[in-house]
């Protein structure tokens, strides 16, 4: 519909074009998988991917760091030195052996808060990615497979979603809820960030459906949904995986922004909440760096690890990118 889409009859170009968009993770690529995808499904190549995967330093580094954080999120709270939200010490203590990252204005232990808030950030990231992925895939597949008026309608819908400032929407919807939950936030992020996935998937489906093997499937009497799920989707498996990783990271980042503006979950604590509270309670002016630097640094590492893993995975799927 837009020149943007038409610009890329090759499909892969569009897939590529769509990835540096809509999410804060602008430039991260998800395209290579789209090319490597066909081979990805070729069972003979699977082992090859594994072979390259375990030898890819970027992938291993990214995954390694991420796993440390995931573990910290899962078991960290059980090992936290203090109950996270309770006022356990004097206010505004500098980092020390008792309080590794000092205390907040209220006398909460920052390190314990940090451990406790990882979970929520991951939960929101996962939910956001899952919903954006599912919606994007569904709409992309339907639009790309059916084409015609349905495609037009779905594209218009995509366009509108891109255009509406989601923050304002969040305020409106949020006003209905007596308390915001992490679940709500994750779903909301998913529901507002799917367009670029949909665009890319649509373009991919568009090209794939013209391929011989799809024709064959059609001739053999398979029905549309079955072809999409059994013949087309597996060919985009690697692309979908890469896109999911990017969505995961971007959802976490978006959540930080929402939380920072006080629009996040109210019944828990997240990294963005910590930033919000530190800002509101003059952490900056009181030079309580230990209150707001660690949460952002942790988030940066968490997302950077995902990005690095993503690059690594990209190289695994796309032989052209592999360094020799």
């Amino acid at each position: 519909m837009s020149g943007v889409d038409q610009a890329a009859p090759g499909g892969t170009t569009t897939a590529r074009g769509a990835s540096p968009t809509a999410v804060p993770l602008a430039g991260a690529t998800a395209p290579a998988g789209a090319r490597g995808g066909r081979e990805a499904y070729d069972s003979g190549r699977r082992w090859e991917f594994l072979y390259f995967a375990v030898r890819n330093k970027k992938l291993l580094l990214g995954l390694g760091v991420e796993i440390i954080f995931v573990l910290a999120a899962i078991i960290g709270p059980y090992f936290a030195p203090y109950p996270a939200k309770e006022f356990v010490a004097a206010a505004a203590l500098h980092p020390s052996s008792q309080h590794l990252l000092g205390t907040t204005y209220f006398g909460q232990d920052v390190f314990s808060l940090l451990l406790d808030s990882l979970r929520e950030s991951y939960l929101v990231g996962f939910l956001g990615a899952a919903f954006a992925g599912l919606i994007g895939l569904a709409i992309g597949f339907v639009a790309g497979w059916r084409g015609g008026w349905l495609d037009e309608v779905l594209q218009t819908l995509t366009y509108i979603v891109v255009m509406i400032p989601s923050l304002v929407l969040l305020i409106v919807i949020g006003a209905y809820l007596k308390s915001h939950s992490a679940f709500f936030e994750g779903v909301f992020i998913g529901v507002t960030t799917w367009p670029w996935v949909a665009r890319a998937v649509r373009a991919q489906t568009f090209t794939l459906r013209q391929r011989d093997f799809v024709d064959l499937a059609r001739l053999s009497g398979k029905r549309g949904p079955a072809i999409v799920l059994k013949d087309i989707a597996p060919n985009m498996a690697s692309y979908i995986l890469l896109a999911f990783i990017l969505l995961f990271g971007s959802s976490m980042l978006i959540a930080v922004n929402y939380d920072f503006l006080g629009l996040g979950p109210t019944n828990g604590i997240s990294l963005g909440d910590m930033l919000n509270l530190a800002e509101l309670w003059s952490g900056l002016q009181l030079h309580m760096w230990w209150w707001f630097i660690p949460p952002g640094a942790v988030m940066t590492l968490m997302v950077a690890a995902l990005l690095v893993a993503n690059v690594g995975l990209d190289e695994v799927f796309n032989p052209k990118l592999r360094e020799t």
Partner: protein, 358 residues
């Protein structure tokens, strides 16, 4: 003698080690010769072709020399090669249909390319237009974008651009494989016509398709697993191949135009050996119905009959008949012979090309 290749070795760097894609190849192409290069996927024929013009990325020149028109071709020196590319040696790549920048008009592309080579399109423009007409492209193709052309048209545009500077050697890599039968014929005829008109002096036509070689090639060379197996004039090769692999290749060819890469070699179980660490001896040995103990030794590429080189102990035995093996080995100099075939077949090919031009 246009091209002479001596013991050329090209490897592919992979994470698992170097793959010897071209493993000590020696051959020559004469002036005005169209040499067909055939073999299964992965046998190294494309690598061989590419290495003569552009050793890219993960390819590595391991050893051997290449001489073109009596002068050494510095194939391993990317910068030095630039001078020879397009001017002395040129290529119609396997991906000819997508070789043109989609966002540049054909004319602009040629202009930019020549400018980058320090030349002016204006100088060759009349010739460019003439050739465009010759290959059957519309006159305004220079003002058109690649995506406005069909795949076949794009390929022919590539063909014209590649040969614009009348190179000594043209490598045509799989130029017919994506085409239907009638277009295959037409392209084949164009190739010979280019040779006949002197746009290119000699040509290596790399293909899966033996039938197209039968149509246009003067000589045919067959590769298997990085090594040469057989080279002879086209008719000899098709009528009386000596190497068991060539025989298998021909017998597995069900009809004209079907590419054998699509099917396993019928009746010959097994796959080519891994080129990562190929076993010693004849590389076809594992699959060869005639293999015997001698085959654990590497067979040399011997000229068993005049203009007919084969790397096979069995063939050598068969041909030798009364003659002593020592003699055969002695005469198995890996050069020269091919040149003889060319004049023999020249005229008929010329005639065919003439037909194509009508």
């Amino acid at each position: 003698m246009s091209l002479s290749v001596e013991n050329l070795r090209i490897a592919y760097r992979t994470l698992r080690g170097d793959v010897q894609a071209v493993d000590g190849v020696t051959f020559a192409v004469a002036d005005r010769e169209i040499m067909g290069l055939a073999g299964e996927s992965g046998c190294g024929k494309s690598t061989l072709g590419n290495s003569l013009i552009f050793i890219e990325g993960r390819m590595k020149h391991v050893g051997g020399t290449v001489e073109l028109d009596g002068k050494a071709l510095p194939i391993s020196d990317d910068r030095a090669m630039n001078h020879h590319r397009m001017r002395d040696v040129s290529i119609i790549p396997q991906y000819a249909m997508s070789a043109l920048n989609p966002t540049k008009k054909v004319g602009t592309l040629a202009h930019d390319l020549l400018k980058s080579r320090g030349m002016k399109l204006a100088k060759v423009l009349p010739e460019f237009r003439r050739r465009v007409a010759l290959v059957g492209l519309p006159e305004n193709v220079l003002e058109m974008y690649p995506f406005e052309l069909s795949g076949g048209m794009r390929q022919r545009a590539t063909m014209v651009i590649s040969t614009l500077l009348n190179p000594s050697l043209l490598i045509a890599d799989e130029v017919t494989s994506a085409l239907d039968v009638s277009n295959q014929r037409a392209v084949g005829e164009l190739l010979t016509e280019f040779r006949d008109l002197g746009y290119v002096k000699s040509m290596i036509v790399i293909t899966h398709d033996l039938s197209i070689l039968a149509q246009i090639a003067d000589t045919i060379m067959v590769m298997y697993a990085g090594k040469l197996t057989e080279k002879a004039s086209a008719s000899t090769m098709i009528d009386k191949p000596l190497h068991p692999y060539t025989q298998a290749l021909l017998s597995s060819l069900p009809e004209v135009g079907v590419r054998y890469e699509d099917r396993e070699l019928t009746g010959i179980p097994g796959r080519p050996p891994s080129l990562l660490s190929p076993p010693p001896g004849c590389r076809f040995r594992e699959r060869c119905p005639f293999a015997y103990d001698k085959c654990v030794e590497d067979p040399p590429f011997m000229e068993l009959l005049p203009g007919h080189q084969v790397a096979c102990w069995k063939a050598a035995d068969d041909v030798a008949g009364g003659a002593g093996r020592e003699h055969n080995e002695a005469s198995a100099t890996p050069s020269g012979g091919a040149g003889d075939a060319s004049p023999e077949r020249g005229p008929s090919l010329g005639a065919r090309a003439g037909k194509g031009a009508e």
